[in-house]
Chain length 666, copies 2
């Protein structure tokens, strides 16, 4: 319960959110003002844009059904239990805001790709500014919409915002689930389908416009890495703030309920300010300066706010711990996946003795790369707890995500640069431009990998904050024995630990099945239309439809599991559910890092060989590295990221339905 | 504390143990009485035998140093804490007995291979009997030595056997660690080295005597699958009984402390009796009948004993639950890995589109295969707990392992049959014999895969029993808060969960490094000796030395980690250690099943193609499947099995050093 005096301070966060949206609008206007290049470029960009929107529309149909069912279920539950009926309203709004954020991001990204390619004609710096601006539109929309949504509820329901808002988180999670799982399946089935027939069977280059799946592949980059990533982090962002607000009662600081919202507002200011650091010819340094700059500005602002408003400095320390944890995870990811570092080079070296040794080296690297993120997160959690109890852990999550405005911008920049490179190839803009867009793309790969690490880390600490929130809420209503050695807890741990393996098996299998259909279609078009002989034109739209349908169909089963399992277990035994959530978070975190980093390292090992090492393109080592890259693709772009959602979603579902479990238990 | 009247009943278990050893001796005599075949066969068999013994001797040198250091450390600790000094004596004996069991198994296996090949001349049945008899020597030696060792301590120290015996378990674990990790690295570095140069580069068949690494490869089968597997299950066997004995105080049944030993004795009788079922032409059915037969006989005997001795039937139910869990895990493993079932066939099908899709299909299958073992084990644990508290969980482990005498026999039969097939190839015994030994080998692959699943399942439930024992012992001495949501517990869970990933990264990397050295040596011999041109002879011994040295060097770091980490964490915070053990058990169990089953499925997918499907040997699909098989080999034979030891060893180390932690905490 937030006092009215405190809750009125949500006006400030509302203003910060609106400011972020206005700034995003200005940037979008800037991007739209840039020329889209020649007719061919516009044509390709239009294909990608339409394909992306078509996928979103299909996805929305499924999501609408899901949302309606959940709203009805929530209303029924709130009729019979203590669940406030406004939860369903919050759920609707959470889902809607997340969908809007994803939609904005997709639109701007698919509008910016040709413009970034065109701008590269004036130099790499111009290309960077257009691509980064479009990323910033997404980043600021996510934080803006997130904080506006939360502020509205705090202002409207000061007395019970912190319970109702679980519904908002649930709504955000639901969209994230479909965006991540569906988007992940889409992007990889298109990619694998395009590569297996194009690159491997027919020996035509990547992004060759004759390949019927090439547009679907480019659409996939946006669907997975923009919409999926944005929804994922939107969820982490709002969930971390919600859990901090609802754990505020544990500590007795002044303004502790409203503090997380204010801190997040400072993060928005810091992100916007730091965007001026993103310039210069060295693209990677520009990005890094932006992220580090925003972190430093944010830390200073947060210190001042904490010191003067709360009067105690501990919550600031908890936030700082989370912020540093996020940076370390990002750097560790960079080390294990960059083609400039030892691990990826070693994997490339192992490719000289064939695909098998390449695969084994990547697996070992991925597993080894779990050590630092796990250790730092464990230490961060304990430290944050020592500073401010469970509230501190939630604050650490808020701290890690505070500068999301800019870190998401560097993420979403990646697919735009990737598409820009693809368009310069397809529109035959010449070697010079191609090279510039490719160097933008190369940096995009690194920032995307770091972004993935960051997304996983933030998902894990957010999930932890949610589990602690669940425990605090539950123990207020029922007697709980959650001793670790209780066999029910242990059984929950085992089953929870298994879920990420099951989920990964399902999503990997889904990509395989969907890719198979794409392979058949591409083969058919080559055969029947005579595209390679120059007789006919590829039918891009059919491939887009196949990828869309495959993704939509395949996303349903894993998504339902993620929602239904915690409800079933919670109805059976609340203790087992806590065990289940903890087990899923531990192995979900581990598997997600393993899959993401192994995938990233295989990808860059291949790039390292393509740069001329160990025989270069076309060599024996290169062929082996292509196998590693193909294995890694669905690992890092489908299965790994889906686990982020799984662990957060199960926790937030548990929180939403806690009143039902309590009713059932008593 | 066991009353003197009860402890004297250990005489019965001592007799059962001696009986097992006598029966093993008789079988060994029978095997030795069989002819060893022609000169060439004897020569090859001698090479393998000497290579295996050479490895064991090298390994013993390292182990001796380790054992001496540990004994000194234990004596120092017992001087300053409540640790009984006899723990070091028990440690010595546990290590010694485990080493003897491994030694017996290796000797008989390497003596039986040529004899089994020779016997196959008289039909497949004769070959089966020789190979199975040698496996039974190992199986009965393991259970015999295990139970003799335990009974001696119970008779000698009735009042504190259950504490001292943790040392016995620790000794057994230490040998198992080196045998599994070192043996696992040996077998796969030799195998991968032999295959990469022989099969892939030079295109000569498997088991071609011109390949310098071929003998090392055959030695490896024994080192890994006989000595490693035997030591692994010796450890599970004694640990489960020890934990049941020390948890007996929880329940108030008559004879509860001595009951686990008596139950294990019945298992020995059942195993010996059931060995008469192992006959007939259908080798797989023969094995299965033996295992099922022994389970049924054992269940009947256990029921009778429980009913008349204890007077309560609950402990029997707990045992039954464990027995059934083991059978289900075995069947699930068989389903996911057999070349007669859908999963392996699907992986083979995926090989048609290349190595990458083959790898992805195997990964998905391996992950999916975790579901059934995790669910049944979770259910078994809860049920066993409901029947007889933590004591029941330990009894479930005892029940699962009760018929180890025969199940280990079917396991160790595998490498003997494998070697027999190798010898008939190398000694050119002709198509007929080769086919017979190959069909013996094919069944061996299935039983070995099932054995791996069984070993993992038993390791997990044994580790759980040990964790519960640790908790019960610790809470008697210090106040413990092991609430799952305690951040220290949670940090322990995270770090513990990460250890199996780290361990796997290290062992996979070790195989890679050791295999690289082997590849260089085999290439050098081919080049310098002109073996393939018929000019020179291969130098088998150099390859054996390289494999031995590589394995010994590479096993040290992971082994030390497994011992040192629990001690360090325990000295810091006992609660965090409990979290660590639980986390490691969960992800260790999951990863071990995933690695073992993915590896087994890739192997059999390749075999399925080799049987003529999807283009058969030499086809595109076959080449892709070979990649999968090579990736799977170290997964299933090195990293997966090593995890069994990791989780048990860390738990038993924690138990042994608990008095030190308590001293330190207070």
């Amino acid at each position: 319960m937030i006092s009215t005096a405190n809750s009125s301070m949500a006006v400030y966060s509302l203003i910060a959110g609106i400011l972020a949206l206005l700034f995003a609008g200005a940037l979008a206007k800037y991007v739209y003002s840039k020329p889209r290049g020649n007719k061919r470029m516009q044509e390709i960009s239009d294909y990608i844009h339409k394909g992306a929107i078509a996928f979103l529309n299909e996805e929305y149909k499924v999501i609408s059904i899901f949302v309606v069912v959940v709203v009805i279920f929530l209303l029924i539950v709130s009729n019979y239990t203590d669940l406030p009926w406004e939860t369903s309203l919050a759920f609707l709004l959470g889902a809607f805001f997340s969908a809007v954020a994803g939609n904005i991001g997709m639109r701007i990204a698919t509008q910016a790709n040709a413009r970034a390619a065109e701008a590269s004609k004036h130099g790499i710096r111009s290309g960077l500014i257009v691509a980064f601006s479009s990323g910033a539109v997404m980043g600021l929309s996510v934080v803006g919409l997130g904080i506006v949504g939360l502020s509205i509820f705090v202002l409207a329901y000061p007395d019970r915002a912190s319970s109702i808002l679980f519904g908002f988180g649930f709504g955000a999670s639901s969209i994230a689930l479909f965006a991540r799982v569906g988007g992940g399946i889409y992007t990889k089935s298109a990619d694998v389908g395009a590569d297996l027939v194009g690159k491997v069977e027919e020996n035509i280059p990547e992004d060759d416009p004759r390949n019927p799946a090439v547009i679907a592949d480019n659409v996939g980059d946006n669907v997975g890495d923009v919409a999926g990533m944005g929804a994922d982090l939107f969820e982490s962002y709002v969930d971390s703030i919600i859990s901090a607000m609802s754990l505020a009662a544990i500590v007795s600081y002044a303004y502790s309920e409203i503090y997380p919202l204010l801190i997040a507002s400072l993060g928005i200011f810091a992100s916007i300010l730091a965007m001026i650091f993103v310039k210069g010819k060295n693209v990677y340094a520009a990005m890094r300066n932006g992220i580090f700059g925003s972190s430093i500005i944010f830390a200073i602002l947060a210190f001042i706010l904490t010191y003067y408003l709360v009067g105690k400095i501990e919550p600031f320390y908890a936030i700082l711990v989370g912020l540093i944890d996020g940076v370390i995870i990002g750097l560790s990811t960079e080390y294990f996946t960059s083609d400039q570092r030892k691990p990826a080079k070693k994997i490339a070296e192992a490719a000289q003795t064939g695909a098998a040794t390449n695969i084994l080296a990547g697996m070992a690297t991925g597993m080894l790369s779990t050590v630092i993120p796990i250790l730092t997160t464990a230490v961060a959690m304990v430290m944050a707890y020592e500073f401010a109890d469970f509230y501190g852990v939630a604050l650490a999550a808020v701290g890690m995500l505070s500068t999301l405005g800019i870190s998401l911008a560097t993420d979403c920049y990646g697919p735009v640069a990737d598409n820009a490179a693809g368009i310069s190839e397809m529109a035959e803009l010449g070697d010079e431009i191609r090279k510039r867009t490719e160097s933008l793309d190369a940096v995009g790969n690194t920032t995307a990998a770091m972004g993935k690490g960051f997304a996983i880390g933030s998902a894990a600490i957010t999930a932890l904050a949610l589990i602690f929130t669940f425990y605090e809420k539950a123990k207020g209503a029922v007697t709980l024995n959650i001793s670790l050695t209780d066999p029910y807890i242990m059984a929950g741990l085992f089953i929870g630990g298994m879920l990420p393996f099951l989920f990964t098996a399902l999503t990997l299998g889904a990509v395989g099945r969907a890719a198979e259909k794409m392979v058949e279609e591409v083969r058919r078009q080559f055969r029947e239309y005579g595209i390679l002989e120059g007789k006919g034109k590829p039918d891009y739209e059919r491939c887009i439809k196949i990828a869309t349908r495959g993704a939509i169909r395949e996303m349903i089963l894993p998504s339902l599991l993620a929602v239904v399992i915690p409800i079933v277990i919670g109805l059976w035994k609340i203790e087992a559910l806590i065990g289940l959530l903890a087990g899923a978070t531990v192995t979900g975190f581990l598997l997600a890092i393993y899959l993401a980093n192994a995938g990233g390292a295989w990808d860059n090992a291949k790039k390292y060989i393509e740069a001329g090492n160990f025989g270069g393109k076309g060599s024996f080592a290169h062929k082996a590295a292509v196998v590693g890259d193909t294995v890694g693709d669905p690992c890092k772009d489908t299965s790994g990221p889906s686990l982020n959602i799984l662990i957060k979603l199960m926790s937030i579902v548990s929180l939403v339905f806690l009143p039902l479990f309590i009713q059932f238990a008593s």
